[in-house]
């Protein structure tokens, strides 16, 4: 079985930021914590999804809250373990393995911390295949795994169980608890058995994120074009299609607050003067890229803004006028493109009027 090395964690922090499609939080603190956990507890195994036995008792985990809080009130490191114990007590069953609920952004690191402490394997898969802002936006939910019970814990040793009829309500209540926990909580939910996990998860996303980081690192070391290397790498994965949908200069970044969310529009003027400017709408993550009225890529497909020289991902808060960027559209795997999936995290779920159109090859 493969295990996660320190180098993997470095690579994962880059790949997870890319899968964050502009949001998901800076994985820096998560990276330091995952590294410390490996040092303290020893190695963590990464179990491929197709090797998960039918009867294995799995649970998903991650953090909820504002990255701005996390960078100030850093975790004690015990929160997520407490959430797991609370969950196990509630369900009366021992958990056998941890599955990430979000491979994009800082949540890629939490499962590694928990798995190290609990001496359990991490499943090489997740429920988002990228970053999404809400707990119900999971393939787990789409394909019938109940979001409840949700066990949330904070650094004070408080734990809360949320039980609701549907995932959206669980998200709503859990976020309220998170605010009362000081703006950041750590949670465990979406319990399922191995057979179910194989059916409802986006496979290979942890090794995908690690592979993205490794590809960029090796391209830089070998003085190869990082963007070409990245596109070739995606071709070898089940995401298959990654295509440059815009290449140019950021000429406008406008941000505003709307219902408490940070929304914005970034405009990119192509280097190719014959092309029209490209706009990307942002709501924490990048949602839709358009050239005039033509949709170039739309959620759930990934829209990743990369530095032109290094192909390193640029998070939404770091976007500014004058940056030279390549925008990479990446097609999500089929499990994320079904009508049921699009109902939960397709364009309409974000209030977009345009229908989903898969990224063309």
């Amino acid at each position: 079985m493969a295990y996660i090395t320190n180098q993997d964690i470095e690579d994962l922090s880059v790949g997870a930021a890319l899968l964050g499609t502009g949001g998901g939080g800076d994985p820096y603190i998560g990276k330091l914590m995952a590294r410390a956990a490996l040092e303290k507890y020893g190695q963590v195994d990464l179990l491929p999804l197709d090797k998960v036995p039918d009867g294995m008792n799995l649970v998903a985990c991650g953090a909820m809250g504002a990255p701005t809080i996390l960078i100030e009130k850093m975790p004690s490191g015990d929160e997520i373990g407490l959430a797991l114990r609370t969950y196990e007590r509630r369900t009366g069953r021992k958990v056998d393995a941890i599955i990430p609920f979000e491979a994009g952004g800082i949540n890629s690191m939490m499962p590694i911390m928990l798995a190290a402490e609990a001496r359990l394997p991490v499943i090489d898969a997740d429920g988002m295949g990228r970053a999404f802002p809400q707990l119900e936006m999971e393939t787990f939910n789409v394909y019938g795994v109940p979001a409840s019970p949700v066990a949330l814990a904070d650094e004070q040793g408080n734990a809360v169980i949320v039980e609701t009829k549907d995932a959206a309500k669980a998200e709503f209540l859990a976020r309220g608890v998170t605010i009362r926990m000081g703006g950041q909580s750590y949670l465990v939910n979406y319990g399922m058995d191995g057979a179910t996990a194989r059916r409802v998860s986006v496979p290979g996303t942890m090794s995908l994120a690690i592979g993205i980081g490794r590809t960029l690192r090796e391209a830089a070391a070998g003085h190869r074009d990082p963007l070409d290397a990245l596109i070739s790498f995606f071709r070898t994965t089940h995401y298959e299609t990654a295509r440059v949908i815009a290449s140019g200069k950021v000429v406008d970044v406008s941000r505003r607050e709307q219902n408490g969310w940070s929304v914005g529009v970034v405009t990119i003027e192509p280097f190719d003067a014959s092309r029209r400017p490209v706009t990307i709408q942002i709501q924490n993550e990048n949602l839709i890229a358009e050239e005039d009225d033509k949709v170039l890529a739309i959620v759930p497909d990934l829209i990743c803004v990369l530095e032109a020289d290094t192909a390193m991902p640029i998070t939404t808060e770091r976007l500014r006028y004058g940056q030279r960027v390549n925008v990479l559209g990446i097609k999500v795997p089929p499990i994320m493109r079904t009508p049921e999936a699009l109902d939960v995290f397709g364009p309409a779920a974000f209030g977009l009027k345009k229908p989903y159109a898969p990224l063309e090859a």
Binding site: T68, I71, M74, S76, G182, E257, Y321
Partner: protein, 513 residues
């Protein structure tokens, strides 16, 4: 009249100014005791202008001394790094992710204590005072002379840091204590890193400030003196003694602000062209636009307010290739006086091109007479394109702005730049640093997370503005001159409607008696 001084690694510069007018400026080598270099340059500038020492009303000093000490791991004290608000933060103890040698130099004396607040100021647990008393005993036993105290959300609620300092000081009266809420903004690890580094500089800061004091005394300058901090505003000497870390990276800020004054522009782009690289930054309202990314100092991650500067490989020594199609990014650097063509070398540099074009007369012009006109034209074109694209990249909007050229390599730019409304080459550009120090204002800043529960956004924003202005006054600004120059409001992502992060900066003119 004011004097601005810039103590750099190599040179100490001085500029004597009457209002916005530069009466005289000069350079002198920096000395290891700092003070004799300052005395030398001050004597020189007073002599060349004929201004008596008694006419000087204020002296402003910018220095890289403290940055260099950290980078070189020299003259640093061992530090007791005290952290409040366990159990939060326990996963990553102080000095996590520091270079090993620097953490060793500071002794790895780390202490973590219970107690603390949330982002909205609510108290989670009282400070464990008995634990602080025990730490004080440990500090005495280990013979430590400096300590840093960092509490979670102290930029919101500093009470626990203050109380812990009080207890430590009671038991170890001569301990130098750095409090994180005085130093940094939201971002715990970065703020703690800065506080620990600050504590390690406690001895050096007293020495350097007293050497500044002695230098002025020696020349019978009795005017008050101030030291510039990284955002281009001033600190009084007492404050620098306690918070030397705030001088980090004041150099680039002073240089850009000096350029603005020399050019008489408040909103402009600045290109500082050296031998190897050009640094391009943007001035908004007379202050440099600040970088949003973490700044690494001596291998340690910090969140200081540094100017956002883009370095591109264009300088006087940049190597010219492909018949002028390619310039740099490599340069002959300081070897320009032996390797470039006009100085008898065999490498074609950007400087050779401007001499060959007849734009400058440097070295032996006959040695570049053979360069074909097409190459010269092509190379000049490439140089201007490089500069123009760097300027365009650093602007925040497509509107053309004035471009101010400073630095020895500014001779490379002889034409208009498409991204610029005009190109300005001010006099005295080589001492822009010292001028930037001389014209500095005093400021106050707030950067904190505000809970919106039970209040409104407008009330919160108004309070933040008042508080920033009050801080500027407290720092020595003249009543009636304080203005809010920058407001940034970022609602907390993923926590809709609950809280917002607000940053307000106010500045005013120094109240000089």
């Amino acid at each position: 009249m004011r004097i601005g001084i810039d103590v750099g690694g190599t040179n100490t510069d001085a500029a004597l100014m009457d209002g916005p007018v530069v009466l005289g400026a000069c350079k002198s080598p920096t000395t290891s005791d700092v003070s004799s270099g300052i005395v030398a340059v001050l004597k020189q500038v007073l002599a060349m202008t004929g201004v008596p020492a008694s006419a000087i009303r204020a002296v402003m000093i910018g220095t890289t001394h403290f940055t260099n000490a950290v980078v070189e791991r020299k003259r640093l004290l061992e530090v007791a790094a005290v952290r409040l608000r366990l159990p939060a933060t326990k996963a990553l103890p102080p000095m996590t992710d520091w270079p090993r040698d620097l953490a060793d130099t500071l002794g790895r004396h780390t202490f973590m204590v219970h107690g603390g607040n949330e982002f909205d100021g609510r108290q989670i647990a009282p400070l464990d005072e008995a634990e602080i008393v025990r730490i004080a005993g440990e500090i005495r036993r280990r013979g430590l002379r400096a300590a840093s105290i960092t509490s979670v959300f102290s930029p919101v609620t500093p009470d626990m840091e203050l109380r812990a300092a009080e207890i430590l000081r009671d038991i170890v009266p001569d301990l130098s204590i750095s409090l994180s809420h005085e130093i940094g903004r939201v971002g715990f690890l970065e703020r703690e890193n800065a506080s620990v580094m600050n504590a390690s500089l406690a001895d050096l800061s007293r020495k350097v400030v007293s050497s500044f004091r002695n230098a002025l005394k020696e020349l019978s300058i009795h005017a008050p003196f101030y030291i510039s901090q990284n955002d281009g505003t001033l600190m009084v000497p007492d404050y620098v003694e306690r918070y030397p870390v705030l001088t980090f990276a004041s150099g680039p800020t002073n240089s850009m602000r000096g350029a603005a004054t020399l050019a008489g522009e408040k909103d402009a782009m600045v290109i500082d062209i050296g031998g190897t690289t050009s640094d391009v930054g943007m001035l908004m309202n007379g202050f440099p636009r600040e970088s949003a990314v973490a700044v690494d100092i001596g291998g340690v991650r910090t969140n200081f307010r540094m100017p956002d500067v883009l370095a591109v490989g264009l300088g006087g020594g940049s190597i010219v290739r492909d018949e002028g199609d390619r310039i740099g990014p490599d340069s002959v650097g300081y070897e320009i006086t032996s390797r470039s063509l006009v100085f008898g070398g065999d490498t074609m540099t950007a400087t050779d091109i401007v001499v060959a074009a007849g734009l400058e007369d440097i070295g032996d012009r006959s040695r570049v007479a053979h360069i074909p006109a097409r190459t010269i034209e092509k190379a000049l074109d490439t140089i201007h394109k490089l500069a123009d694209s760097a300027v365009d990249r650093m602007k925040t909007s497509a509107d053309p702005l004035p471009v101010i050229l400073v630095g020895g390599g500014s001779i490379l730019i002889s034409r208009d730049l498409p991204s610029a409304s005009k190109v300005i080459r001010p006099e005295n550009a080589p001492v822009a640093n010292a001028i930037g120090a001389a014209i500095a204002q005093v400021g106050g800043e707030i950067d904190r997370i505000f809970s919106l529960e039970g209040t409104s956004r407008d009330i919160v924003l108004g309070g933040a503005k008042d508080e920033a202005s009050e801080r500027a006054l407290k720092a020595g600004a003249q009543e009636g001159t304080v203005k809010v120059i920058d407001i940034e409001e970022v609602p907390l992502a993923y926590l809709p409607g609950s809280a917002t992060r607000i940053r307000v900066k106010a500045v005013g003119d120094l109240a000089v008696k």
